[in-house]
Symmetry: C2
């Protein structure tokens, strides 16, 4: 098992084009659209399905398949540790991983704003290519639309993924039992803080990078090793860990007791959260997952997780309980207890 894959980033000089920015004509479906796709998109992402270039792709599929969709509107589109391109691939790859699936195929749909510099589009396309390579997923079909200046914001990307579900996966809130343990795969809040630091022009001693990355291999290895001992996966993106735990408690009709002292937050991230007035429990993550596991297997699962580069900071942070169903209780380091509320609105808009 390759737990620490060397990262070789594919790169390629931008092809010569006779346009510097996206124009309304690039969304026409005519000659300009074709030129954009033929010079920039197909050479980077090509495979047997994209080569067909019809109204859709035809696949041979057999068995339990997971399907997930997300539109990405993150602002700014470039941020420390990533950009909207790898975020859009990793986000959907991870939603499939949370269903216990291998990311096999993905669709890619752009809404471009007139005036988007071609150099920025190229950088995003390279990120998409690299994220696809890293996750082993193929772009099989796509779409490109252009809206007038001021009717969009540089680039929005929709990805929809399809992948085979692991045969041993029996996942979902219905599988969760009192006594099960809550594990988080690493330290919280990095993605949200990376975005906010750019928006607010903050500088920290060490730059905080987004944690955007694919999670399917680590999840698959847990399913392979522990089968039904893994009750469910969820990735705490928008709304953070607190929001996801609320949803789990709500749907499972069980309570969750959290140990504050075991919740992993890096010092720099904690400091940035304090400066920004944010609670790391509600800040978005893009390379993190929560798993609920059988109590008796929890220590082994934690040990396995910690052997992965991106699981080194994993921790058991709480326990499922029959008491207070639907409620998440935070047991503080100094012995207090408080109910973790579900926030109403948006703490950090356009984080993904």
């Amino acid at each position: 098992m390759t737990k620490n894959k060397p990262v070789v980033r594919f790169t390629c000089p931008m092809p010569q084009t006779d346009f510097d920015t996206i124009t309304i004509g690039h969304g026409s479906g005519g000659k300009l659209t074709r030129r954009l796709l033929d010079t920039m998109v197909f050479p980077l992402l090509n495979n047997e399905w994209l080569a067909g270039q019809g109204d859709g792709a035809v696949l041979n599929l057999h068995g339990r398949m997971a399907v997930s969709t997300d539109s990405f509107v993150v602002s700014p589109v470039f941020f420390p540790g990533g950009d909207i391109g790898d975020l859009a691939i990793n986000g959907t790859v991870n939603d499939l991983a949370m269903c216990g699936a291998q990311p096999d195929f993905i669709s890619l749909s752009f809404i471009l704003e007139e005036g988007l510099p071609i150099t920025e589009l190229w950088e995003i396309l390279l990120s998409i290519r690299n994220a696809c390579d890293a996750a082993g997923v193929r772009v099989i079909t796509g779409d490109t639309k252009v809206v007038e200046r001021g009717k969009g914001d540089k680039i929005f990307i929709n990805t929809t993924g399809i992948g085979r579900v692991h045969h041993g996966a029996k996942l979902g809130e219905a599988m969760v039992r009192p006594g099960d343990k809550v594990i988080v795969s690493g330290p919280l809040a990095r993605h949200g803080i990376a975005i906010m630091s750019i928006r607010k022009g903050l500088e920290f001693e060490t730059q905080i990078l987004s944690d955007t990355r694919p999670l399917h291999e680590i999840c698959r290895s847990l399913l392979y090793g522990y089968g039904g001992g893994i009750r469910m996966f969820r990735d705490p993106t928008r709304g953070g860990v607190a929001t996801v735990l609320h949803e789990i408690a709500d749907k499972a009709r069980l309570g969750i007791d959290l140990d504050e002292k075991h919740i992993p937050v890096e010092d720099e991230v904690a400091g940035a959260c304090e400066m920004l007035g944010l609670d790391p429990m509600y800040v978005a993550n893009e390379g993190l997952f929560i798993t609920i596991v059988d109590d008796g297997l929890a220590a082994d699962i934690l040990g396995d997780l910690q052997r992965w580069e991106h699981g080194a900071g994993a921790a058991i942070i709480g326990t499922i309980t029959e008491n207070h169903p639907g409620t998440v209780i935070l047991n503080s380091a100094i012995g207090g207890k408080r109910v973790l509320p579900l926030i109403t609105g948006e703490q950090l808009p356009r984080i993904c």
Copy 2:
């Protein structure tokens, strides 16, 4: 075979909400997002997959499946004969139909602009529900994002569809042979003209309605009846019939000879095109398809098509030829010949 289904439009009063417009908080992933989905979306579209409400849906799929994606940015969002809601469902349903597939499952992803009136969102959701019912397709997973006022344009919708390909379908440019006939399923240019009439504030004696509608039943019945005699389907949306014929000629490395006098255009549409300075061959359609068929079966196929309500205006408009590969020639009613060019840019921006 029900060729003229009575249309019973599902309707439902808008649920009580404590918000009148979309706010940034509706994209938070927290309580407001949940309230929006629970009051307006899930009750309208619910099924066993949406009920799960996880990171994705798990399906049992077997065999050849078509996958297609499209983002819809049409402006205005309401137009004569439809709105962005039914357009987004029918558009993807038709892309599946063009692959010879039955529309089974669809994902639905919204990018909402802050300030969108809830009454408009409700009307769009009702259209989505009705279009899904008409096509027999289920919404299995989705996403909702909100962008600030001035960073979007009311609502953009992405749909990605998955459907079983008909066992008799052997479709694509590679199947096209010299001598094959080109059939169009009805009169051209209605969708584009419906949109333009609103944008330009034009009034005609009779209002021209968009032709947005699902095409899978009619396509499936042709595949059932004629199998390999059907070489391919394409729907001439953005860029119209001319752009699609160009793509076919290009990919098949064959020429197309068109008979101008057989190309069906309604008088009112022709008049509107003249007034707007548009060529109906390049104007978008949303309920029309082109099929290339075996010469010996063309008359039978045309007869079958014409028995459908929406195929009544079908016509054989041209022939595939070995001469002038990659070129589409228009033979005019008065005996002239001209090459039909591929337009460069956008004749009608944001038409779908």
